[in-house]
């Protein structure tokens, strides 16, 4: 199997304020396993608080995992010194403005990673290389001496992409790269990311709350709910035969963008109960099919088809 990244039983707990000034542990990512194929794009979808971003950051060890193992290119990097890997593993953030230093010229923003990694001898050479990258992401050489604040949101995201590419990575975590952008700019960035992936053989972990965007980008997807990977598999297989009740609810809730189908839609009217993390399935409190066992016992992941697995008692 040509995997570039494999994650096994990843867990991340955060300590949050609890009752009477005590701390309690909050499980942001709970026993998540998946892999990203070389040259492929693995999409992670889920709602806010589902643990998507934490998973992405933990995979890069920007956040340290509580438990589980991370393999990059066949090597266990869970406890490794990350310096040699930073070049190979990059990230593109959701908020382009917030992730670019406003006091750095674009040329320095883009070439900083090269300098830190001791690439391309001189500053002049690095800036030449940065100019190449800017052209590749649809900006121009003249932009080298401008400041991030002079650019629009879409252009800032292009700078963020150029910066990630500067150290010639093989794997990039794209954390909601288009969510903060206007509709007319989202398509530009999605097309750019896809073209770069093909040209450079990049592998992506693509994080988004937008199912249609993930469908367009990813060849395999995983659906996260409250830190648990409830369904995982080949994109079209999962989307055309969604198994987990949560995946089905998520797909049903997408606005139809078609007045006729919108009129025919069936809606869940009741607000979801803010579920307590109990012993059983995380989705049990919201699940219309929940049985006794769902509240008592955590379901385990099962293969339900070729490259399609689901974590639900209905399929045991």
């Amino acid at each position: 199997m040509a995997e570039i990244l494999r994650v096994e039983h990843l867990k991340k707990n955060f300590s949050v304020p609890g009752d009477r000034g005590k701390k309690r542990s909050f499980s942001a990512v709970n026993d998540v396993s998946f892999s990203v194929e070389r040259g492929g794009c693995f999409g992670l979808v889920g709602e806010s608080g589902s643990g998507k971003t934490t998973t992405g950051r933990t995979v890069l060890r920007l956040t340290e995992p509580t438990a589980g193992r991370i393999f990059f290119d066949g090597t266990d990097i869970t406890d490794a010194d990350m310096r040699p890997y930073r070049r190979k593993m990059q990230i593109i953030f959701q908020n382009p403005a917030g992730s670019l230093d406003p006091k750095y010229q674009v040329g320095d923003v883009v070439s900083e990673g090269m300098r830190a990694n001791g690439l391309y001898g001189s500053r002049a050479e690095r800036l030449r290389r940065a100019a190449d990258l800017l052209r590749q992401v649809g900006l121009s050489e003249d932009d080298l001496r401008r400041y991030p604040g002079e650019f629009s949101g879409g252009q800032q995201q292009r700078i963020g992409i150029a910066r990630a590419l500067a150290v010639d990575p093989s794997f990039i975590v794209c954390d909601e790269p288009v969510s903060a952008l206007d509709v007319s700019l989202q398509a530009q960035i999605i097309n750019l990311l896809k073209a770069l992936q093909q040209e450079r053989g990049l592998s992506y972990l693509f994080i988004s709350h937008d199912m249609a965007v993930v469908r367009h980008m990813a060849d395999r997807i995983g659906v996260l709910f409250r830190g648990c990977l409830v369904e995982c598999g080949e994109t079209m297989e999962v989307l055309s035969h969604p198994a987990h009740p949560y995946t089905r609810a998520l797909i049903a809730a997408i606005p139809a963008a078609d007045p006729d189908r919108a009129a025919a839609k069936i809606h869940a009217l009741r607000p979801a109960a803010p579920a307590e993390a109990g012993e059983g399935c995380a989705y049990a409190a919201r699940c219309p099919y929940a049985k006794e066992v769902c509240r008592l016992e955590r379901p385990v992941e099962r293969e339900i088809g070729p490259d399609h697995s689901c974590c639900c008692h209905l399929f045991s």
Binding site: Q155, D182, H209, M211, A212, P255, H267, A268
Partner: protein
Amino acid sequence: MNSLLSVENLSVEFKSGGRTAYAVNDVSLRLEAGENLGIVGESGSGKSTLAHAVMRLLPDSAAVTGGRILFDGRDLTAMPERELRALCGQELSMIFQDPMQCLDPSFSVGSQLTETLRAHEKITRAEARTRAAKMLRAVGLEDAEKVMRQYPFALSGGMQQRVMIAMALLTGPRLLIADEPTTALDVTVQDQILHLLKELTRQTGLSVLFITHSFGVVAEVCDRVAVLYGGRVAEYGTVRQLFANAAHPYTQGLLAAVPSMESDREQPLSAIDGTPVSVFAQAEGCPFAARCPRAEERCRRERPALHEVEPDHFAACHAAKAPALAERTGEDHG
């Protein structure tokens, strides 16, 4: 018969650091009673400024420089402040993207709801509580008594949004202005809130002016839609007309740029080139000309007026001239 809301040639300008931002330019719109009108646009299109102008909630740096806003025939822009405050909250209400912008964190939900009612009507505290609880149930918060005792921060985002909707509807307004009310919500919660708004309009005859950047949301709740670009109306028509037969290249581009659950994954998305027009520039010609695939010399020189391309369907584009031509561009597009 007066329209419920009629915006006539409205212009709003902001003064910012010695520069002038032309946020809304010569916008005219109508909303009939019992109808839902969607205003679609990107950031900087003027959609929120328009909504705030109707409620006279513009900041001091902004001013209405032309036109008027009629609510059931009464001019809101010229109305004395006192009269306007009585009207707003009573017949006109607004909900926002962030419920915490509207809910006070230091008062319980119940006291905020009853205070709203008692500010507009002479009723006892007990009566107000009963009506508040009833409204909370109407927006899907079954355990109304418990919610009334809670403080806003103890509620989930979806529940906060429901409380804000309940507060806006307490006095039985005829028009609700909804400024991106579901943008910050998860998709399953968004679906519930949209459905709730649709049900409420059906049951009570409420009209909604729905500000959004999403055509999907418009398709769910609106009857008519106006697409704003650069502070101007680019296209205006029924939701069906715009989805089936968009006449303005910007509308066509927006509709095509969004990936759907049916689109071809192998094909690149058809992106709109360039970046949105600056609010500081007042272009001589069409504001979309710089990004338009069909722009000609004339488009850069002469600003197109909003004209009828088919009954009840208007576009501000030189290329979308006659109904026959609009049909042809629709085919090109699809």
